[in-house]
């Protein structure tokens, strides 16, 4: 069989057709099928993601419900500890509170001042501040002091007496001069 010979015009047209075909393929995949497939793949991935999330959310909510039961005691305790901090700046309410406390224990003229206020090192106590107070009791009976400290240690769980200095008053041996250094953990608002 004799091979078909294309003339120049035919070759040009063939070349043009090939170019048109390539352009069509390119446009089809780039502007039509490509975005469509991408959109479908995205939607499929999102469905899978949401299904996983939805499945894990049930576990998450169950875990939270269990944690809520387990943490009931801790939450009550935490709220009670938080409630030991009054509203406002500690410098405004703590000294009068201590003065009133010692006055109720028959120890008058208590002088309370703030020594320092720092943050706790523990990351768990980021909402709490550590205040150091100096409490001076110029004239205190030993028994009354013992009872007052027992009461203080029992009623103020977040207060720790770090230092206690007692000196007998030479003029009146029945009374002692007392200096306390107390550290408090107060919730920062």
């Amino acid at each position: 069989m004799k091979p078909t010979k294309f003339n120049k015009d035919q070759i040009q047209k063939t070349f043009l057709s090939i170019l048109g075909f390539i352009a069509l393929i390119y446009c089809y995949f780039t502007f039509f099928l490509g975005p469509l497939n991408k959109s479908r793949a995205d939607a499929t991935a999102r469905i899978a993601d949401l299904q996983v999330k939805s499945a894990s959310s049930k576990t998450e909510m169950k875990k939270t419900a269990n944690l809520e039961i387990q943490a009931k005691e801790a939450t009550t305790r935490y709220d009670a500890l938080k409630a030991t901090t009054a509203d406002g700046s500690p410098i405004a309410w703590f000294p009068p509170k201590m003065r009133n406390f010692f006055a109720a224990q028959h120890i008058d003229k208590a002088n309370v001042r703030l020594e320092s206020s720092t943050a706790f090192k523990q990351p768990e106590l980021s909402d709490w501040i550590k205040d150091t107070w100096s409490i001076e009791l110029p004239a205190s009976d030993y028994d009354a002091l013992g009872q007052a400290i027992a009461e203080l240690e029992n009623t103020e769980p977040l207060l720790a007496v770090q230092r206690i200095v007692i000196h007998a008053v030479p003029e009146d041996p029945q009374f002692q001069q007392v200096s306390l250094t107390a550290q408090t953990a107060l919730h920062s608002q």
Binding site: F6, Q10, K13, T14, L16, S17, I18, G20, F21, L24, Y28, L33, L36, N37, S39, R40, A43, T44, R46, I47, L50, Q51, K53, S54, S57, E60, M61, K63, T64, L67, E68, A71, A74, T75, R77, Y78, L81, Q122, E124, L125, D127, W128, Y142, D143, G146, I149, A150, E153, L158, A160, V161, Q162, R163, I164, V165, I166, H167, A168, P173, A185
Partner: protein, 304 residues
Amino acid sequence: MALQLNLLHEEFSEQRQRQRDPLKLGIIALCTFGAILFLYYGWNAYQTLQIKSELSEVEADWAKVEPKVTAAQNRAEELRKIIDSTKVLDSMIEGRFYWAPFLATLSHCVAPNLQLISLDGNVAESNKIATVVLEGISAAREPRAAAEEFRQLLSEQLSENSLGIRPQSGSPGQGVVVDQVTPASPAAESDVQSGDVLQKFDGQNIESFSQLLELVAVTELNRNVELDLVRNSKPVKTKLRIKQRHPGYTEVRVGFKNLEDLDTSVNLAGVPTPSARFVLNISFNPTPGATSSSAAAPEPAPTK
């Protein structure tokens, strides 16, 4: 005629040539291929629409659940923080040194021939070791011995296993007569009273106060122990529990830092009595493991 036939042949040839025009063929092929692609696109678009519809359903479901899940996650995080914070706060509360029991014990141990001048107590923040420096004056025929008695009594009363009684001197051979009961001590909690004669501790006969102290010292903490005593000539059985007096502090040491005779004598009940000045060091070491370091505790000073 022959010429005409030739021309017709050429015409057919031209027509055939036109029929296999590559452009035309190309256009037809392209159109066919385009149609296939269009159909394929349509099928894909249909599938995508279906998936999108499914997605919108899933998203609608998730929109209902998401606020609850977010709230649950936030709450869980908050609860975890509360639990952790409470744990740290509780450990701080448990790690506190309670001064009131110490002051009460001290008050109980001071005899009438003793006077305390000053007390300086401190709890180290780094290792939680509590130290107390106690300065006082003892007056007696042998003031150093009186100070030593005070040290011994204080040491016994502050130790972990303490019953909380002061015996009457010259107790009979059988049992120990109680002179005083320390408030809030195991003895006080078991209603042991002044004048009671302790006869049996955990089923063992009590011969002397020192033997009783030995029995108490080896008793396991927080265990109920039976105590047989005689009150107003009637036998009484009671139960007591030896408890840790200073939670978190298991080792208590009481020792003299200084003990010296004074030149001046003290007027005790109208009688001039020799006196001695003493400085006692008391250290409460935390339970091993609670802190990494421990301080050197003072040793008792030799007495004359």
